[in-house]
Symmetry: C2
Subunit: 339 residues, 2 copies
């Protein structure tokens, strides 16, 4: 690799002058500047980013740590978020450093990346209850933004973007109620996920508002993946035959719910209504479900990056905390069966 030193030797100027010429400083004569730039170009000079980082104490890189592959979660969300963040980072002049946590120690990846000065800021996704990662980032004082709020009983004292999942599940449930359904099941995400309580609250609120009883037996939990939704719905439908509708808490689980419905010889959209909420949209599913409801998570990634860049540059945030309103999509209305 050709270095400043090489250009200095070729041109006869000092390393300093070369550096300043390339950086476009004013105090270099136009003639020498052009000369140096020409030589640098012809030699294929590429500045050593690592040396620059060490010197300038900034990396122009943002970091994201993806959680250990625990097979509990759909990775669709993460992979799509990654892409969105990658594009947005590039667009803002940043690279993206991705680190996966080895299952051993959860915090070690954060300490290595953040403590090792590898990034200027961090994006954290999928918050959990009393999330130690957030505590660490706060303590260290590195700029960070979060995809997802804290759980309802904890302070969300950090910049975030989150879906208004309470409102989303409320809308999904209310939609079913308005169609005449009275026995509505729900497949929730695992309890340690920060957004789960919000979703349960949305479900409960819709029932309460309609004077329908909240029954624990109508609530199950799935692992956010299709199979989890299928298992949960299968159990639910088997044990609670009176159910005429099911709310799923993300797109993948909704597909699983549909599979369970069909595997029991029932028809989605006819015998059992299925609604789902994912990110920012609420949808009623039907067969064939050629389209799923997932909204572009990439946009969320983009907004997160823009927020983070603002923080890194110490520019004020207009909206440090954003709740995305759910959108209702109804493709086919499935009223309750007459019984």
């Amino acid at each position: 690799m050709v270095k400043l030193k090489d250009i200095a030797e070729t041109t006869g100027y000092s390393i300093t002058t070369v550096s300043r010429a390339l950086a476009g400083y004013k105090d270099v004569s136009e003639a020498t500047r052009r000369h140096i730039v020409d030589i640098a170009l012809s030699m294929g000079y590429q500045p050593n980013a690592v040396a620059r980082q060490l010197r300038s104490q900034k990396t122009d890189t943002i970091g994201i740590i993806i959680p250990a592959h625990d097979s509990r979660f759909s990775d669709d969300f993460f992979s799509e978020l990654l892409m969105g963040i990658g594009y947005a980072a590039a667009h803002n002049g940043y690279d993206l450093l991705v680190s996966a946590q080895t299952s051993s120690d959860e915090m070690s990846a954060y300490q290595r990346i953040v403590g090792g000065n590898r990034v200027d800021g961090v994006i954290l996704a999928r918050t959990r209850r009393s999330d130690p990662r957030i505590a660490y980032l706060k303590e260290v004082g590195i700029p960070f933004v979060v995809s997802g709020r804290a759980a309802p009983d904890e302070p969300s004292d950090f910049p975030y973007i989150d879906a208004d999942s309470q409102q989303g599940i409320y809308a999904a449930t209310r939609h079913l109620i308005q169609l005449g359904h009275r026995n509505i099941g729900i497949v929730l995400p695992p309890l340690d996920i920060a957004f789960t309580p919000y979703r349960l609250m949305g479900y409960q609120r819709a029932l309460l508002e309609a004077n329908l009883p909240y029954e624990q037996a109508n609530v199950t939990y799935g692992d956010l993946r299709r199979f989890g939704g299928q298992q949960a719905a299968h159990a639910l439908l088997t044990q609670r035959p009176q159910l005429t509708a099911i709310v799923a808490c993300n797109d993948a689980m909704a597909l699983g719910v549909m599979q369970a419905v069909e595997s029991l010889g029932l028809r989605v959209g006819a015998d059992i209504a299925v609604t789902g909420f994912d990110d920012i949209s609420v949808a009623e599913y039907a067969t064939p479900p050629l389209t799923t409801v997932r909204q572009p998570i990439q946009e969320i990634g983009q907004r997160l990056v823009e927020m983070l860049v603002h923080i890194i540059h110490r520019q004020p945030l207009e909206h440090p905390q954003t709740l995305l309103s759910p959108t209702l999509i109804v493709r086919q209305s499935c009223g309750a069966k007459q019984s």
Copy 2:
């Protein structure tokens, strides 16, 4: 951030000794080593990765550049590959640096990342005809592996993993022929993608083998996304009403094909058979298509990382070039209509 210097001052030893104690060198007395390690731990010492990289001339990082968002491609592939690579990298002690190319200059991202010494190796995906990126990586001499071969008329003189798409499309087409179909259309990817000719060849070979004529009019091109498949199939079915089957060249386009079929009042799996090939599986589609054929791309990412790590460590590769054999999945057999 606490540095070696800080630990040196606290313990009274020199920076050198602290460094060696922490690195576990033999020539430090066990007593001082323990002492230093204790202090380092209590002070929360985290080595500065950037300084290390500069000093050691290695980054323990692998890079991947994702192409500009040109809306022509499904990003599913990339995002999933990213995840797989991220996990595998972590598992092998590497971080992953993701950089998106800004649409302006295609090569600039490569020059910045590779020439800037930011990574020890690179993973390249989705090869194109006479791909300049591969030429650059070869020229610079950095370790790299590729997802995808070169086009048939170019040398694939680099380590790669690729799906045997000729075989895959051949199997898909032959399957349809065996079911009695005689008029089979195909939706190909864009022509500048390196694997497109292989897929066309597979289609042609199956026709030839069955003494069926190859007709240009039965061939269309889609942009690898669902909408592209839909547009292509719509045109195909409108202009060639005699078609009873369509082969799609990836999963997303297959879904689009199905949408087109249904939008024309036809039934998938009854009026029109749809098969698809994606990554390593061939499948016949049916309605409702609750399951798609895509195989875990993450595994491919994992194998790519392992290959790359071998190259970086100058260990020999057992299989520098891998073609993944397609797997045939038949869910429902749809013979040709009697006409």
